[in-house]
Symmetry: C2
Subunit: 342 residues, 2 copies
Amino acid sequence: MNAEAPDPPAALPIALDAAGGDHGIAPNVEGAVQAARAGVPVLLVGPRVALHAELGKHAGSAGLPLTVVDAPDVIGMDEHASDVRSRSGASINICTRLVKEGQAAAAVSMGHSGATMASALLTLGRIRGVDRPAILTHLPSKTGFVTLLDVGANADVKPVYLAQWARLATVYLRVVEGKEDPTVGLLSIGEEEHKGSQLVLEAHALLREQDGRGLRFYGNVEGRDIFQGTTDIVVTDGFTGNVVLKLAEGEAKVLFGWVRDALGSSLQTRLGGLLVRGALRGLAERMDPSTYGASILLGVRGLAFIGHGSADARAVKNALLRASRAHQAHLIGRLEAALAPQ
Amino acid sequence: MNAEAPDPPAALPIALDAAGGDHGIAPNVEGAVQAARAGVPVLLVGPRVALHAELGKHAGSAGLPLTVVDAPDVIGMDEHASDVRSRSGASINICTRLVKEGQAAAAVSMGHSGATMASALLTLGRIRGVDRPAILTHLPSKTGFVTLLDVGANADVKPVYLAQWARLATVYLRVVEGKEDPTVGLLSIGEEEHKGSQLVLEAHALLREQDGRGLRFYGNVEGRDIFQGTTDIVVTDGFTGNVVLKLAEGEAKVLFGWVRDALGSSLQTRLGGLLVRGALRGLAERMDPSTYGASILLGVRGLAFIGHGSADARAVKNALLRASRAHQAHLIGRLEAALAPQ
């Protein structure tokens, strides 16, 4: 911590790993400026001089609730997650420490996902009753959006993790998104309860047991149910969830590319394309991951958000607003209460 | 077998489970008529009277190489796969027996997938060197199509299965699709070889060992690589593969629905929509599973194809043509040679 670290302000600020991500500090600073304009105070954690220089490019940013916290080091996208153990001056470690010490409401990073997870887990610890934290994200669906977890924190899991994640996600949707009684689907390869892997069969039994006690279990769902929005929450292991997330994003990108190509294929379609362009742009935005900003690492004792390395300013801003909303809704306390042994 | 069973004809016919599928015999008979017109002889296995009546609706079908084989029983979509053990008169069992006895080149069914797998495995047995058969299918990609397996035969697998499937799929693409030296990707949650589940880490090591000896191993691929077509083949467990297949089809359906809605949203977009309609229809067809007809059950000692329950006549026809092509290319013999212990 350096001399620029703030006294705890009236509204607790969000600590942003301002050096994290594929595009360095520019989109982080721009997103922070936008969030600050929307009333969310931000601690910009990263190389002090560069951050001040970048802030200088944004007219009027001097009056905003933005504070630079110097971090001499950053964990690069191609370094090892385990480096967080030895590099206490890395920006992500300073972010999670600010949360731990009560000087920040949440840590947000578009940098190395594994490092962010490791740093959050090491510094903040786990909520009682949670064996492993999971990454929760949103995908668009016919019903608006569907909430999916785990999307990559745990490649190998036990049935009880899935049951814990279902509870955590239920509280998250209730508290942060205002969905009163969200339904939980267990991702499988058939709707019938006797279908699926050994993991899914055992998780199904656990979830069935807990139905009506802290969660609403719909039963098994299949791959096609995700975009249909059959349930509000889809729970799965971090291997399958990560494949689902990357396939869903990759497929949307390729399909919209094909639509673009089809519209450019002749004079007639180019004319038609001019007329439909605006309507299709709305669609592409609906599929854009930056709409949701970042995913939450659910199950650690403090708020930690993990974004795409390719995040733009809009994604950074949305992540900061989401983090602020989760803090104001007392998400961590609500999760602790819901998971406490009865 | 009844009196209508044929002497083995010059070109061995394909046995079609003519009663299988959500829509009963009509699309099966229509698809068989189309395949027969294209020169592929077909045995229509199902209820004799109903099949003759349906055939009567197709003018000129009398001169085609179509033969009805009576099957008094059919395994319904909501019955148990294990029923194949006790119901020897079920249409799918008669199909696989015709293959076993050398009277048919392949069995094709749009009916109960689990029953088709069970019947093929019980009647035809496994190819030597294959622990578990897998279902191989195709998905559209930027490069044309990508070949994915297993898409649902095995929810829980061992690393060695994945390595065997990679060899089988390599031979399949070489022999049936004319891809000389197809690349194999292992589906994981990171490109780096140290990322993934325990299963994937061990399968990665096995595939690395076999690279250059019967297969060409690219390394790990991620969900986004499927539509990118990064590799010709993507190998994964039957749980993940089934989720991928159903998600990919479901997402395409929802996204194209959104495109349709966007084009109908105003007078301007409806005008534009008229101009681009033809170009977009080509795209929807590219995503249509019936283009590929059916998936092959790879690893049994005989040709068995499994289609969508919702298959239309075009899917049935394409499945029959694909089965005929696999037979003419001596696929089973080539697979046996490739998997034989060295």
